[in-house]
């Protein structure tokens, strides 16, 4: 749940907010990440009016109210500002009409003023609210960036996730977070992973303890957040299980509704896991560029087979 207080505290500097009234409504929750300019609704047209949106009063709204007869002003304002209204913001450092301040105070609807221009305030506030409302989840794994690709390394504890990440770092790749990855859906399209502030850039290695990668290997080896491009699961080698041998089949995993490419690497002593991860990543990049090694090989193979068959037919 997002409250007005949270929004005010987080953005009072970026959006240059000051409080004008309705202080007792600061604990109100904002239910929709939507910002509305009530121009048409102020004129009395209230069809399809959603009263849970944040209202932004710009120059036109304020001058429209000021042009109304004083006895109509409160009427019009009370039809759009109700107890459901989470927040009213006056943009452009405008002086709000006294009726607006009064109705916000009496209904307990927070009234803020911003010095940003109306359009700028509206677009920035919408963007920031969408960020705050975007779904997040936590997943167990280590997030690294290899060749510019964000990879979550998953697997049961003690399968060697951190060790694999450490070898990747040693080869010049980057750590984002170890063990706990916070995942956020950005713009409804892609996923971004980051670590908790407290354990950022720290790793726990069996037999060594907690190490700070940024201090050990330098700032070049860490990043704060990274788009998640794939998930690689490390598994203890199981002789009975059939592992992918050709790579024609593409597996995906669902994270917050986004399909993320998924690979399983069986681990056993002597397998260089970091090298395997690097190879998967490079292969992924190649696929993104439009080249699929397995498919390309298969096409060549099919061509060879049909050529051989034609030869056989003609020689018969």
């Amino acid at each position: 749940m997002v409250t007005v207080r949270q929004v005010f505290d987080s953005y009072k500097d970026t959006l240059v907010f000051e409080v004008l009234g309705g202080k007792k409504g600061f604990s109100k929750s904002i239910k929709l990440p939507e910002v509305h300019r009530p121009g048409l609704s102020l004129s009395g047209y209230l069809k399809n009016y959603v009263n849970q949106r944040i209202l932004v009063f710009g120059n036109s709204e304020v001058s429209y109210i000021n042009d109304l007869d004083s006895d109509v002003r409160s009427d019009r304002l009370s039809s759009i500002i109700t107890q459901e209204t989470p927040l009213v913001v006056v943009a452009g450092k405008l002086a709000p009409p006294i009726e607006l301040i009064n109705s916000c105070n009496s209904l307990g609807v927070p009234l803020l003023r911003s010095s940003l221009k109306t359009m700028e305030l509206q677009s920035r506030l919408t963007y920031l609210l969408l960020e705050k409302f975007s779904p997040t989840t936590t997943c167990h794994g280590t997030l690294v960036e290899a060749f510019g690709v964000g990879v979550i390394i998953q697997g049961d504890s003690s399968v060697g996730k951190s060790e694999a990440a450490l070898s990747l770092i040693e080869r010049g790749h980057r750590l984002i977070t170890d063990d706990v990855v916070k995942v956020k859906l950005r713009e409804g399209l892609y996923l971004e992973g980051y670590g908790a502030e407290l354990t950022r850039h720290l790793m726990e290695i069996r037999g060594i303890g907690i190490i700070n990668v940024a201090h050990l290997y330098g700032a070049v080896c860490v990043r704060d957040d990274k788009r998640i491009d794939m998930v690689i699961k490390l598994e203890v080698w199981d002789d009975k299980k059939f592992y992918d041998r050709v790579g024609l089949e593409e597996k995906h995993i669902d994270l917050l509704g986004v399909k993320v490419p998924y690979h399983i690497i069986p681990v056993k002593p002597g397998r260089d896991v970091a090298l395997l991860i690097e190879t998967i990543v490079l292969n992924h990049r190649l696929k993104e560029m439009g080249y699929n090694s397995a498919k390309d090989f298969n096409i060549k193979l099919l061509e060879t087979i049909s050529r051989k068959q034609r030869k056989r037919k003609t020689s018969l």
Binding site: T138, H140, S157, S158, D178, D179, V180, A196, L198, T199, L202, M203, E204, I210
Partner: protein, 88 residues
Amino acid sequence: MKLSYKIKVKNPLGLHARPATVIVRLIQDAKSSVSFTCHNETVNAKSIMGILMLAAGKNSIVRIDVEGEDAQDVMSKLTEVFENGFGE
């Protein structure tokens, strides 16, 4: 088997590095999966980093979820160390 139990952190310093080590050592061989939830944050309890990330102070409530064949055993071991404040 699936078990869930809410417990209060009793030791004065909260879940810092030493109690986290105690917890992980206790359950690292358990067959069950164990997770802790505190302040709306859920983490794998077999991971030191996970437990430390919770930054659970004294008197905070941690929900322990255990799922697996040895759940009963794991849960009783965990509640015991929480109850005696990790010997601190």
